[in-house]
């Protein structure tokens, strides 16, 4: 049963990889740009999911770390002349430190209180970035314009194709790392802290260190995403990092599935395309209906969550299980003897087995 599931997940991963690799060579320029956006969102959500889905720390402020990565990369490139492949890792390292440090006050808050503390971060970020005192570095409300990086000489790729592939390679590497973290001892410890903090500590998990490091790692992911976004858009300005960006990340990981790393891809597709779909649908209702895109977006969101309360990943898992059960029911002998019955008898006592 577990082998079949592993084989299936490998198959899905391969299929996604093939589609993602082929995409920039079959799609047109703007769609490639949108594809890069999806990958960038997915990277930020990988980080947020490690923090919120696995470790149970709610962040409404990841847009701020995204902004630090974005501005950090832009400033390093324009003011210090660093190439993008050096500027983005450097900006991400800054995000790690910022996230790690923010993780300390976060230790004192739990649940909704932490959500509020991070909310403050999201509210403050755009205002700090447009503050006139920092104009010389941040460009104030004008922002910073960047030249889009070109593909290395010798590769016959457009700038959009190259950027997409950079995002894809970064996303694949970061997905691999997040999966290694999540599936092993660290991931178990993060979930243990979320489920039973005191028991986790009793097992030897240094909860404070793990929570702050998780915050740092999560911010690092947001920082990479921000840096990639800076070069993909070619322009950074304070308005891009409002509260709605932080909320979109949270919506994305819930839609994709909390504590599901593969789910972030669906979450990213959702926050990239569903607002557009809502926009297009609202056109049908005439010019006067200005509030409608929001309302349609909300309705679509509720629909998705009603159909798949544990996100796309949970829905896919449930569907897979249903198919597996159906397949198994046509081969009853193999499955009946999986040891469940004798274990139940052993525990429930002789007279009380169900």
């Amino acid at each position: 049963m577990a082998d079949a599931e592993n084989a299936l997940s490998l198959l899905v991963t391969l299929a996604v990889a093939v589609i993602a690799l082929a995409f920039p060579f079959v799609a047109s320029g703007y769609h490639i740009y949108q594809g890069a956006q999806v990958l960038i969102f997915a990277i930020a959500m990988l980080g947020l999911n490690l923090l919120t889905g696995f470790n149970g720390q709610i962040s409404l402020g990841h847009g701020a770390f995204f902004a630090i990565g974005c501005y950090g990369a832009a400033i390093l490139m324009t003011k210090f002349g660093l190439p993008y492949w050096a500027a983005i890792p450097a900006a991400s390292a800054v995000c790690f430190v910022a996230g790690f440090l923010f993780g300390f006050p976060a230790l004192r808050f739990g649940g909704l209180y932490l959500a509020l503390a991070t909310f403050a971060l999201a509210v403050a970020a755009p205002q700090i970035l447009s503050y006139t005192g920092f104009d010389a570095i941040t460009g104030g409300s004008q922002g910073i314009t960047l030249a889009k990086p070109q593909a290395p000489i010798g590769l016959k790729l457009t700038s959009d194709q190259w950027l997409y592939l950079v995002c894809l390679a970064s996303g694949a590497a970061l997905y691999w790392a997040a999966r290694n973290l999540a599936r092993g001892r660290i991931g178990r410890a993060l979930i243990a802290i979320r489920d039973q903090p005191i028991a986790a500590e009793t097992m030897g998990v240094n909860a404070a260190l793990y929570k702050t490091t998780c915050f740092g790692v999560s911010a690092l992911y947001a920082g990479v995403a921000g840096g990639l976004s800076a070069i993909a858009v070619g322009f950074v300005s304070p308005e891009s990092f409002g509260l709605s960006l932080s909320l979109a990340f949270l919506v994305g990981i819930v839609v994709g599935g909390l504590a599901s790393l593969g789910g972030v891809l669906f979450g990213a597709l959702f926050i990239e395309f569903v607002p557009n779909i809502a926009d297009q649908l609202s056109v049908n209702f005439g010019e006067s209906a200005k509030a409608l895109p929001g309302a349609i977006y909300g309705a679509l969101l509720i629909l998705v969550m009603a159909a798949m309360p544990t996100g796309v990943a949970g829905g896919a898992r449930a569907a897979t299980n249903a198919v597996m059960r159906w397949l198994a029911s046509s081969r009853p002998i193999e499955v009946a003897n999986d040891g469940g019955a004798d274990v139940a008898a052993k525990y429930e006592g002789k007279g009380e087995s169900p």
Binding site: I191, A200, V217, G349
Partner: protein, 273 residues
């Protein structure tokens, strides 16, 4: 299971009460507001001994447990474990030191499978951090294999194979208690704290539990400190019984001595009447 083999020799020859104690509690006092939960509590537990901790509700048994697992800081007194003061260790360092515990209401990680729960119990046998694990370094992979081996052995030993891949939250209370026991033993502790292991179990399960606790001690040589209301169980499995009442030790000795102690009888009859 190298641990079990190494310690199996000494197990059946009884407990050497003259050797330096594994756990030495002395003069422990803790107050919550105006209430003195523990007052001048002193006793020792020898290596490999099973020590029952009894007393009416509110006598301070769980408070004492929580002091030993560093959930509370006692106002006065000291706890020495293996000759070292526990006060100088953080809560998460106790597992490496050799102290494991279960919880009164079973604190399993309910979304994780049984196997993963037991793996968390073995967390402290490995050292690799975030970076080593994210990059799947050879060290991290070796550690992961060792944890998996340890977990599989315990799952086998506690007969949990059939439920190993089920989420812990979906299991019956009795099974969850066994999972918690397996998890607590995963690091190979020297002292196992059991907080009301018989609570919520039926008659036949309690009978099985008594044998289980003895078997765990005999196989591993681990000392057990047992808080339990179920008097028959305590008297049957313990080498030593400590009785608390209103935060004070009123008796400390062999089970038959403590059972016959007048103050113990009075404490129990008094609380019943």
């Amino acid at each position: 299971m190298e641990l079990a083999e190494a310690k199996a020799g000494g197990a059946d020859e009884g407990v050497d009460l003259l050797a330096p104690a594994l756990l030495a509690v002395s003069g422990l006092t803790i107050r919550f507001g105006g209430v003195t939960a523990l007052q001048d509590v002193s006793f020792e537990v020898a290596r490999g001994a099973i020590c029952g901790l009894i007393g009416p509700n509110g006598a301070g048994k769980t408070t004492l447990f929580n002091c030993i697992s560093r959930l509370y800081d006692p106002g006065a007194g000291s706890i020495l474990f293996d000759g070292r003061p526990l006060a100088s260790f953080a809560r998460h360092e106790l597992a490496s030191l050799g102290i494991a515990r279960t919880f009164q209401n079973v604190a399993l990680f309910s979304t994780m499978t049984v196997r993963e729960n037991v793996c968390v119990g073995a967390h402290a046998i490995a050292r690799g951090g975030f970076l080593a694990n994210a990059l799947a370094t050879p060290l991290a992979r070796r550690e992961e294999l060792r944890i998996a081996e340890r977990a599989d052995a315990l799952i086998e030993e506690f007969g949990l194979k059939g439920v190993a891949d089920r989420p812990a939250g979906a299991l019956s209370f009795g099974v969850r208690k066994r999972v918690e026991l397996a998890r607590a033993l995963a690091k190979g502790p020297k002292l196992l704290l059991l907080d009301e292991p018989a609570g919520g179990l039926n008659h036949s399960e309690v009978d099985g539990l008594a044998d289980e606790i003895r078997a765990i001690r005999d196989r591993r040589g681990v000392a057990v400190l047992l808080v339990e209301h179920h008097m028959n169980l305590v008297m049957r499995v313990s080498d030593q019984v400590v009785a608390l009442d209103f935060g004070r030790v009123i008796a400390n000795g062999r089970p038959d001595e403590v059972r016959a102690n007048r103050e113990v009888v009075r404490a129990y009859l008094g609380s019943a009447g």
